[in-house]
């Protein structure tokens, strides 16, 4: 079984990249239609990546070269690795026996961290400003994210589910069935916070302050070009799939309950529909409807309203469990 799983790793990585890019294409078309434009063809992100791959890879003189060159690879690799710990489509996690939710939480920090290092290593003031902003943003959204994840694990603990932090336990016991009406409300608040953290984690408008092209000319990625930039694009596309999968695993792990190969196929299709809806809500819709926040506003919305909402959700779940 172990061998099959190891064989599956490159396959899943490849599928994740293709789906990520396809969703990026759908995202662009949908955003264009919402802005009364025609928009690019669905294949545009693929073409962009192919073009960047054959372009010259310029390395600035003042950069720390080995860091500058290695960060895109680490970013993409670490993003794909998260997928191995998450249920993907109708399949259970490939490395599910070896890691749990806490590991996933830590791994989610790694791609953001590589972006910060990439920014500092490129030696441009724009990138330095962008990297500083990214760090501040990471510190802001991690806390509400952690509260949400911990409260779900706590809910599983009080419901006497063994091994509450493992993803099998989370997906095996959909959280909505474990709570009463108050706890249900609390879970909805937690879900809202998580949906609000998603664009921040992905660095989309209104939370694209580290890359803000009109302010700091592309920020972290200002000095990146060619293959390195293409790898960051790929990582960005995969990140959408990864983070949406995290939300699906935590809140919507429901399958159709059909057994056999048909069931796996049907669950996969359902998974992609869920993925698409989440992507539309958290990336496309919010991007079209809002303007970019100032970094002070980003810190405010994550530290005060988001934390308050998620703590209220936790409190409601607590009261629900005690009653």
């Amino acid at each position: 079984m172990m061998w099959i799983n190891i064989m599956l790793i490159p396959v899943v990585g490849f599928i994740a990249i293709v789906i990520g890019l396809l969703y990026a294409g759908i995202d662009r078309v949908l955003a264009a239609r919402m802005q009364e434009r025609v928009g690019p063809p669905l294949t545009q992100p693929f073409l962009d990546v192919f073009k960047l791959m054959i372009k010259e890879n310029i390395i600035p003189e003042k950069s720390v070269k080995w860091l500058f060159n290695s960060m895109p690879i680490v970013c993409l690799a670490s993003t794909i690795i998260i997928l191995f710990y998450l249920p993907f489509g109708g399949f259970s996690p490939i490395l599910g026996d070896h890691g749990d939710l806490i590991l996933v939480l830590y791994l989610l920090i790694v791609p953001a961290l590589t972006l910060v290092i990439a920014g500092f290593s490129s030696g441009s003031p724009y990138a330095v400003v962008g990297a500083q902003r990214k760090m501040i943003m990471m510190m802001s959204y991690e806390f509400p994210l952690a509260i949400t994840v911990v409260s779900i694990a706590w809910l599983l603990t009080v419901s006497n589910v063994p091994d509450p932090f493992s993803l099998q336990a989370v997906t095996g016991n959909p959280v909505w069935g474990l709570v009463g009406p108050l706890g249900f409300l609390g879970l909805i608040l937690q879900l809202l916070v998580l949906l609000f953290v998603m664009p921040g984690e992905l660095g989309r408008i209104p939370f694209d302050v580290p890359e803000a092209s009109q302010e700091i000319a592309g920020g972290i990625l200002a000095e990146y070009s060619g293959r390195n930039l293409a790898l960051f694009y790929l990582a960005d596309a995969v990140k959408v799939v990864v983070f949406a999968s995290v939300i699906i695993a935590l809140f919507f792990p429901h399958g159709l309950g059909v057994s056999g190969w048909v069931g796996v196929l049907a669950d996969s299709i359902l998974f992609f529909i869920k993925l698409f809806l989440l992507m539309f809500l958290c990336s496309t819709f919010i991007r079209v409807a809002m303007s970019r926040f100032r970094i002070t506003q980003v810190v405010y919305v994550y530290w005060i309203p988001s934390v308050l909402v998620s703590l209220t959700g936790l409190l409601l779940m607590l009261v629900d469990a005690l009653l």
């Binding site: 400003v129 009109q214 302010e215 700091i216 000319a217 303007s291 100032r294």
Partner: protein, 371 residues
């Protein structure tokens, strides 16, 4: 690129906002930045100098009217009008009644499309992609009108020229203009909802230019009106048929980027009203195409003409010594004062994130500053 401004304070460095920057035009601002805070800003103009004032001294009036398109890309027809008025005042030529109406019609349409660019660019500056795309999209309807009337989408090739306009409006123009005004109104309703939902939290209280500073630093046009100064050349020193028309001057007292945005939108509404009145009152009589009088000399004299263009007050000083070409033609663009003293004043002490919002809300055009 990182210049340590001060050995003790290593977090202070210089950030270039332009000329090669997605958030700026052909213009540069050198920002001294401490973390996210801008401690001082120095405007660095001159990237778009094309020497129109000198070029005009070697060309006759018709050639100059074509040249005057290029003073500002987004307001070609308004600059056409300023130049044509300067020459008309020197020659004392009688302008046909209908040509005066067409001049105002085209100038107001040009003002609408310039304000749409302003609105779009401000949206772009704060990262609001939808506002940017929609404003630029609807601007294309007006460009279609320009193509129909003048033959050029952006540059009308001196459509408004000394002695009137080059040719009459085509027959289909009136219906098309009414159709486009309807579309623009539709867009303005969208803009209103954008302002309430998303523009507000990024532009409110950003880049406040109070009344005293606006007067001291020489702000004109919508920038001054957003700071509570009710000044408009169309009203204070009327030209063409403006005294006969009924329109208001929108002003606001806040003086921040949000106020400037709203003034821009309200001015579009006023311009639509003006265009409708002009269409209503325009004489039916067909206008003869103008014949370029190449050999005619401009009578001796000097004149300063000022107009209200979308960005503020535009002026042309023209001196003639009785030759075909003007002896001197000085162009006064509104952007120079907005771009250097006003911008430097507003940027000092702001956040990096607010730099594009302030920059674009001032509605500046590097082209008419550098000339």
């Amino acid at each position: 690129m990182i210049k340590k401004m001060n050995e003790k304070n290593t977090t202070s460095y210089e950030l270039l906002f332009g000329p090669a920057h997605p958030g700026s035009g052909n213009f540069s601002v050198r920002l001294r930045v401490d973390g996210e805070q801008v401690t001082s800003a120095r405007a660095d103009p001159g990237y778009l100098h094309r020497g129109f004032e000198k070029l005009m001294e070697y060309r006759d009036r018709m050639q100059n009217s074509i040249l005057s398109d290029r003073v500002c890309v987004f307001e070609a027809l308004n600059w056409n009008l300023v130049h044509a008025e300067a020459v008309d005042e020197l020659t004392g030529e009688e302008i046909p009644e209908k040509a005066r109406y067409i001049r105002v019609l085209m100038a107001e349409l040009s003002r609408i499309q310039s304000h749409l660019i302003w609105y779009g660019a401000t949206s772009m500056g704060i990262g609001f992609d939808t506002g940017f795309k929609i404003a630029f999209g609807y601007r294309d309807y007006i460009l279609d009108l320009f193509e129909l009337v003048t033959g050029g989408r952006v540059y009308p090739a001196g459509y408004i020229c000394p002695g009137g306009v080059r040719r009459d409006l085509p027959d289909s123009a009136k219906d098309k203009i009414i159709h486009v005004l309807g579309k623009t109104r539709e867009m303005l309703r969208k803009c209103e909802s954008f302002e309430k939902t998303t523009l507000r939290h990024r532009t409110k209280g950003v880049g406040i230019l109070n009344r005293g500073d606006a007067l001291r630093l020489g702000a004109t046009g919508p920038i001054a009106r957003a700071s509570g100064i009710s000044s408009d050349v169309r009203f204070d020193d009327p030209y063409e048929i403006y005294p006969e028309l009924d329109f208001e001057i929108p002003t606001r007292d806040e003086g921040d980027a949000y106020a400037r945005c709203i003034v821009g939108r309200e001015e579009i509404q006023e311009s639509i009203r003006i265009v409708e009145q002009v269409l209503e009152r325009m004489p039916e009589k067909k206008l003869e195409p103008i014949k370029p009088k190449l050999a005619n000399k401009i009578p001796e004299g000097e004149v300063y003409v000022r107009n209200e263009i979308a960005r503020g007050e535009a002026g042309v000083y023209m001196k003639s010594v009785g030759e075909e070409t003007p002896y001197r033609c000085k162009i006064r663009g509104p952007s120079l004062l907005h771009m250097v003293p006003v911008l430097e004043h507003l940027l000092k002490g702001s956040q990096i994130a607010d730099v594009p919002a302030i920059y674009w809300s001032l509605n500046i055009c590097p082209a008419d500053m550098d000339r």
